[in-house]
């Protein structure tokens, strides 16, 4: 099989993993002329975008799509009839370097089907990273998938070469994982996330001590660990999904939980819903995730036993505000940062701009668009120097209806 055909099969096999970021790692470059590559500060670089709106930052491939496991939701499950291929270690290394030199990519995201054993598979994945770093002195970004049961030395070595490691939790609940992915063991997944967290903490501590003692700290995945949950393959509610996220963020200091709408795949299993992926639900979950992490919301404020699902027609912050109309209208020229972050339509950046500007001038209705705040969404909830919503507006039962967007917005890029 030629390289191009292998690449087609093994990229097709990798695309259901939503993670693609090249962000959050240490700064490296090759000014010394002894290596290839650098890392981008801040958010990373997306070198291209596919028509699915997803960024292409890394060469995202599997080492092989042969797999011992038979996870029903997965394109590579053992019982699927998709064509199989396997890269040699050198082929992946060569492809990464060739793409990188042409500025197509930031680096490599390598995963693999489980072949022979967890340790064998992990060893193969690590071997690619080792060769890139040690032989080719590659200084670009490397993201490696971690195989849960792999032994500790392999994981330590993976962290030495990789910028980011990830293990997918796949399902929000253990029951569905047991049903859909019988060979996967959520306990092993969690134990390994725990192992990664301990190693990440250790490396961070060592780095802190590094400043005083002149010993080089052991390197371990400076861009941390992430995971992915599949949305819509089982019956889990948004409340279940978000509490699993909250648990994972708190337990394993994850950089990100990716939500991946379950999507039709070639040669799909008939045991799962075969329909268009729930993209809007996925979008709302990301918004709720953001509210919990950056806007000071507790999960119980976003979903609870009576509202276990996020509304699809309005965003979760607006939904919260409509349920808590007694807290509004809020005087924008006086409110605290915490309060401002809860106003529908106010992003974190807009809040900072408001806080800074109102020290010198009072905010007026005309300023909203200059602050990139959607006027219609925010105005019913706020008091400005020249605006006060009539009490009737907030009390109105039709307010929710008025604020619903006219058309479905699907344009949400990641």
């Amino acid at each position: 099989m030629n390289l191009q055909r292998k690449l087609e099969i093994l990229a097709d096999a990798a695309k259901y993993d939503a993670s693609c970021a090249s962000s959050g790692t240490e700064l490296r470059d090759s000014r010394d002329g002894k290596g290839l590559g650098s890392t981008a500060p801040g958010m990373g670089i997306c070198h291209s975008y596919a028509p699915d709106g997803r960024c292409i930052s890394l060469l995202k491939v599997l080492l092989t799509n042969a797999c011992n496991y038979d996870c029903l939701y997965c394109v590579n499950r053992a019982s699927s009839n998709v064509p199989r291929a396997r890269f040699t270690i050198d082929e992946v290394v060569r492809l990464t370097i060739d793409f990188y030199r042409r500025n197509y990519i930031e680096g490599l995201f390598l995963s693999s089907g489980i072949i022979r054993s967890a340790d064998y598979t992990m060893e193969q994945v690590v071997a690619v990273a080792r060769k890139l770093r040690e032989e080719h002195r590659f200084r670009g970004y490397i993201h490696l998938k971690t195989i849960p049961e792999a032994n500790d030395d392999l994981i330590t070595e993976a962290g030495k070469y990789a910028d980011r490691l990830s293990i997918n939790i796949e399902m929000p609940e253990e029951d569905s994982l047991a049903k859909l992915a019988p060979e996967k063991d959520v306990r092993a997944i969690r134990r390994t996330m725990g192992r990664l967290r301990l190693k990440l903490d250790e490396a961070k501590e060592a780095k802190k001590a590094d400043a005083t003692a002149r010993v080089r700290a052991p390197r371990f995945a400076p861009a941390g660990q992430t995971t992915q949950m599949i949305v819509g393959a089982d019956a889990a509610s948004d409340q279940t999904i978000l509490s699993t996220s909250a648990n994972l963020y708190g337990s394993y200091s994850l950089k990100r939980v990716y939500y991946s709408a379950f999507s039709p795949i070639p040669d799909a299993s008939r045991a799962l819903p075969l329909s268009a992926p729930p993209l809007m639900r996925e979008h709302r979950l990301y918004q709720a995730d953001w509210l919990m992490r950056f806007y000071g919301f507790d999960i119980s404020e976003i979903v609870d036993a009576t509202n276990p699902m996020l509304p699809l027609d309005i965003d979760p912050k607006l939904a919260w505000a409509l349920r808590h109309r007694d807290r509004f209208p809020l005087d924008i020229n006086r409110a605290s940062r915490e309060e401002l972050l809860r106003v529908p339509g106010f992003g974190a950046k807009a809040v900072e701009r408001i806080l800074s500007a109102r020290r010198y001038t009072s905010i007026r209705a005309a300023d909203l668009s200059r602050l990139h705040v959607p006027r219609n969404k925010a105005l019913p909830f706020i008091v400005l120097a020249d605006h006060r919503p009539s009490p009737k507006v907030l009390e109105s039962m039709t307010l929710a209806k008025q604020l619903k967007p006219k058309a479905m917005q699907l344009g949400f890029g990641f």
């Binding site: 997306c46 291209s48 699915d52 053992a78 042409r102 008939r270 800074s356 200059r370």
Partner: protein
Amino acid sequence: MTRHIILDSETDFDGWRRAARALALNNVAPHDVVWRTSGNEPDLFTPAAAVLPDGPLVSTFNVPAQFIELSQASILHRDPQRFALLYRLLWRLRMNHDLLDIATDQDVIRIRDMVRAVRRDEHKMHAFVRFREIGRERDTHFIAWFEPEHHIVELAAPFFMRRFADMNWSILTPDICAHWNDDRLSFTPGVSRDEAPTEDRLEKVWRSYYASIFNPARLKVKAMQTEMPKKYWPNLPEASLVKSLIANAGRVSSEMIAAEATAPRKPQQREQPMARQPSAHDSLSSLREKAADCRACPLWKDATQTVFGEGPAHAQVMLVGEQPGDKEDLAGKPFVGPAGQMLDRALKEAGIDRTKVYVTNAVKHFKFVPRGKIRLHQKPNTAEIRACRPWYERELAVVNPALVVAMGSTAAQSVFGKITPINKSRGRLIDMKDGRKALVTVHPSYLLRLPDEDARAREYERFVDDLKIAATQMQRDRAA
């Protein structure tokens, strides 16, 4: 009187700064200045020297550091109004030093928008430059053609130098070209597109990667175009596929949905887990294995793992704590976090070797609530203590220690089978029905929580004193 200022180039920040400073110090109002770049002079043009106001520049003035950053970046914008806008801002800044913080001011908004556009263009250049390789091995050169929206080539070039220092490369643009040859960065005047190579051997492979990584079941064309606007497409080898990928997406994904189920590739041969022979007697390792799957209470759900006891199988002393904490939950071992360190210190001081004692917890899963990036410890309730007690009982039966040390109220509740106040029971050996002795003391994490340093020292002493009772008992047992 209108003054004409001629700058050396489109990116002549120093020239703008010199002129603006002189103009401001001479109180020349913004509407009296016309800014041009060399080559775009008005017809009846007076030499630059003559238009700058005469007289020595005696006074100086300060601008916020932020203004320097903003002006350096915005001067790279293609808008011909930028020099005048910057001078007006400078003029207004002298009267209002805080002007840049007023995010609602029209001039501030305009300048910030310009800076954002320049930064974005720079970022997109980092992303969308595509090199093509020419020449043979050992003598290759990578060449790219790019059309930036703003004057950002000099700004963006160092990025490519840091990244591709080990290869020779050129980025050709209509305004200016950047080159990295023999470890030297240089710039030459702009060229036409014809100067750039038209293909590369890897582009076919790259295009097939692009087509394969696209998921036709989730079409979001708008999201793609927001981040990768059409103006960049002519220089992206993969962009030629976009149209056909979009056109076929609906068909491909509905075919995936409509396709007949195929017969599974091979019979479902799943390895059956080996049935273990149930042993008549518990050993510590078999207990540990069984406990790993324990679901006697709901705590297993949120925790990482069961944290079982640890220590010699026939230790003289068994230490019982409350429950694993954050660190213990991650590591799967009891007393390895801050409370464990406190315990180690106290044991050492009391003369007890930790490796000689068996250490366990009354409840073997971590109970907590997540709060952002941390987990807040929650005290286990009676039902959870009861649900977990059989594990303690079986550990006790296997290890068979002469003395059990209950640390804290949860441990005491488990050891005695009922709520047992610490302060009334601590500091003395208590005879148990099964012939063992028990000792009650505080949990080491209690010491960590005391806010007052004196109290902490005092309570630590008491804790060590309690452990010394255990040490003495161990010696007595050994002697007997």
